[in-house]
């Protein structure tokens, strides 16, 4: 396929076919075409495409004019797409109530406004928050169980071993049967002046302090006397 190197002339071929060139430009283009085989071939191809131009369809001018907005009334009210007439092919324009497309119709107002929805959302949030607090209050937590066991030890009252956290169990449940409720011997020496303790009690206290590394509650409760074996048997 031979190509023409004169791009400008090549570009003018559609205009030459459409008769859109001035007389001078037309003469130049015709002279070039007579000498250039590539442009001649291209000209014939473009002419063929031009001949394929579809024949214009007959349109109903009167109906179109009738559908136009009123002359000189171009305010915003008349710029809507409402058309009083619609063309029926091959026939007369007929009256139509409205030809607005469904996509352009105004959306119906919502039953509940935005303010109501905001209020409802706030009420729901408060209700959910309150419910969460109530549920949390009724659910025994690890902290509350610890606190309860500690209180029981300090006050010397019986406590439920099952309430203790599993990690705080001081014995192997496979070897030592778990007693649901155990009695605690007087586990705590009464708080008094150091001089009031006997030597044996002070020794026991020191041993307790040395055995407790102070790290976790597990260690601190590992010496809680259960099943009658307490380090404070000899306490007052």
């Amino acid at each position: 396929m031979i190509e023409c190197t004169n791009v400008e002339m090549q570009d003018q071929l559609p205009d030459l076919i459409a008769g859109a060139l001035s007389p001078d430009a037309r003469a130049l283009a015709e002279a070039h075409r007579a000498l250039c085989a590539a442009c001649q071939a291209e000209y014939e191809l473009l002419q063929m495409v031009r001949r394929m131009r579809p024949a214009p369809a007959r349109v109903n001018i009167a109906a179109i004019v009738a559908a136009l907005p009123a002359a000189g009334a171009q305010d915003s009210a008349t710029r809507s797409d409402t058309r009083p007439f619609r063309v029926i092919t091959g026939g007369q324009a007929q009256s139509a109530p409205s030809l607005k497309r469904p996509a352009r119709t105004a959306r119906p107002r919502p039953v509940f406004g935005a303010a109501f929805m905001r209020y409802a959302a706030a009420v729901t949030l408060v209700a959910i928050g309150g419910l969460s607090l109530i549920m949390a209050d009724r659910t025994p937590s690890l902290v509350s169980a610890e606190q309860q066991v500690a209180n029981s030890i300090l006050s010397g009252t019986p406590f439920d071993v099952a309430m203790m956290p599993e990690s705080a169990m001081p014995y192997d449940p496979n070897t030592v049967p778990v007693q649901p409720v155990v009695s605690v011997a007087p586990a705590v020496l009464p708080i008094q002046e150091l001089s009031a303790y006997s030597d044996e009690e002070l020794t026991l206290l020191m041993e307790q302090l040395e055995a407790w590394d102070g790290a976790t509650h597990v260690d601190s409760t590992s010496t809680v006397p259960v099943s009658g074996g307490t380090p404070f048997q000899g306490g007052s």
Partner: protein, 184 residues
Amino acid sequence: MTEADRARDAAEDQALIERWRAGDQRAATELVERHATALSRFALSLGVRDDLDELVQDTFVRAFSALDSFRADSSLRTWLFTIERRLVLDRRRAARRRPDVVEVQAGDAATEYHALDGLVANETATQVRQALARLSPMQRDVFLLRVQEGRAYKEIAEILGSTEGAARVHYHNALRAVKEWIHD
């Protein structure tokens, strides 16, 4: 149509628009008569086969409802082509959303010229028709606007919402592709 012809046409269109704005309804009739045929032909070249009358009518209604936004830096016909092409694209989008409507595919363009089979019956014409159908929609629109409508690249760019340079590139790519397919 030379540049001088276009300038004269533009001046006549502008005068008719002014008359219509002043309340002269006959000016609207003249404007419709001047451009309706070209619009129907352009719609056919875009592959529109159904409701052509309605499409042309919608184009004029929309144009006359927005004449204030018409800038005289392009011709009225170019502006009308732009509006009509947008309407065609809107219709195609709407048709794609409707499952009961057969979608217009690029390959369907091959049937656009069936009515012309009697006129262009030779083998080369058939090859050209098939080659046009194989172009991308943008290439085909640019090519047909340039060759069949004789539009300048600037006008084509306005109609298709593109740039003059891009229109030029699309035209030359389309021409090269058509030539190659014919010679294959």
